[in-house]
Amino acid sequence: MTRYDSGKKGPLIEMKGVTKEYHPRKSFFSKAGNKVLALNAINLSIQRGEIFGLVGQSGSGKTTTGRLLVKLEEPTRGKIRLNGERINDLAGEALKNFRSKVQMIFQDPYQSLNPHLSIAETILEPLMVHDIGTRESRRQKVVDILETVGLKPGADYYSRYPHQLSGGQRQRVAIARAIVLEPEFVVADEPTSMLDATIAIQLFRLITRIREQFNMTFLFITHNLAAAKYLCDRVAVIHEGHIVEVNTAENIIKSPEHPYTKKLIQVQPGFRYNR
């Protein structure tokens, strides 16, 4: 089921000294205006097959990190490596090849699907762009992947349109689109923050199942520390463009070291209850 050699050594993803600055321009001619430092020389490494959590509040730089890893934006400074190879200057065929290995699940299920395209067309797009299979085999792959993400029977959902689906179902379609090429690495940018808790739990279960079935690596970006603890193997806490702590999910809650992490744990609203 995997397309790559999982015997490779070293981390799957490596970020070294990555900085991202934004320069809001005052006008076409001047570059004046304060620069915004979204990421400040961060280092991160993600192992093959793990679900890695990145926890931060708004403005911390967590979304920017995700966008840099899928090359929606480029870092101002620093290196990013996939399987040991630099991805900073990819273009043309090499870039397309990269895109077949790294995919993204977006936050807003109401905006991440083109309303004019059917579910099938949305999921077919990556297959068509990368010229995979024949018309028949592609159709079958779409039906299969729909069932994998829990939309059964796949043939029913094939011709439907996003507006006919609920938020949770749309997000499953977004997941299907992200995994149809069986990429090595998927960035999930707050995939459940716009969904109800009962639906979010089902999607976490789905992501865990997908990781086991395809041996995929995930970066799970969230503002919710409890969700990260539930889903992830290791967790990094990011604050104002700096990674302040990295540890296993259990240890980061049990024995936090950085004061910001401690604060996050302290302010989490909790209560006593039975099931």
Binding site: F28, L72, Q111, S112, H130, S159
Partner: protein
Amino acid sequence: MKGRLLLNNHYIRRFVKGWEIFIKNPVGKAGILILSVFMVMALASFCLPLLDPMYDPMTGIDPDIILSTPPSISHWLGTDNVGRDILAQLLEGAKVAFIVGLSSAFFSIVLGTVIGMVSGYAGGWVDALLMRMADIIMVMPSLVILLILASLFGQFNIWLIVFIIAILRWPAVSRVIRSQTLSLKQRPFIEASRVAGASHMRIIFRHIMPNVLPLAFLYMTFRVTSAILVEAALSFLGFGDPSQVSWGMMLQWVWKSGHMFQAPYWLIPPGISISLLTLAFYMLGRAMDEVLDPRLRKEGQS
């Protein structure tokens, strides 16, 4: 380019839904009504000369009449100063108005949409260059340009007029399409396509275009009105295509032959027709506006 737009009942369903909203609007109803009348007139223009060659708008001469006469049984709107039937000319003018209006609108929309999408999507110097060109063209007074060209090169063929109107009128469309593209560019589903590896061409024609087309069609209705008016003005001033009978041409003949005040039956029909047809297209545009922009809809319709 792989993957055609799959035209299936999704588009038909949206069209039907749009139609329902459109037809409830009194302005839309009135516009459609007026337009249908003119469409029937334009189609009738093919039939009339077949009835009797005397009804041909350009060459049809009633053997009994050689000057302008008021309405009568054989000539419902009367005749012009050489005895040609005015109603036949009016019908022919309707046909010409539709052809000129719709074709030049169509070409300016195609041009404006493509340039607007490319400009909005590419950004940077491409965007700057195209929009400066658009600005320059937009400030040019199209009628004056056409008159200058006409006086330099003589009479225009009707298709040349259509073409030049299109060239002078695309900027207005492109601005609107460009800003629509700019806002679409940031939408997550566009970014998702980029991450999937889609080429720029694919994103523009498969994702952006279907979202801007409704707006393009809306603007087409406005282009039609201005094209009809420009052609009428040109013809009236004597620079139109002499082989075509258009309403503007009719007005020119009335004036030139000195019948302005003596023959109201000749003067009024083309004048009213120009006003009504442009009004109808304008009403169409306003009603379409309500279909396209959910915020303008009345309560309980969205």
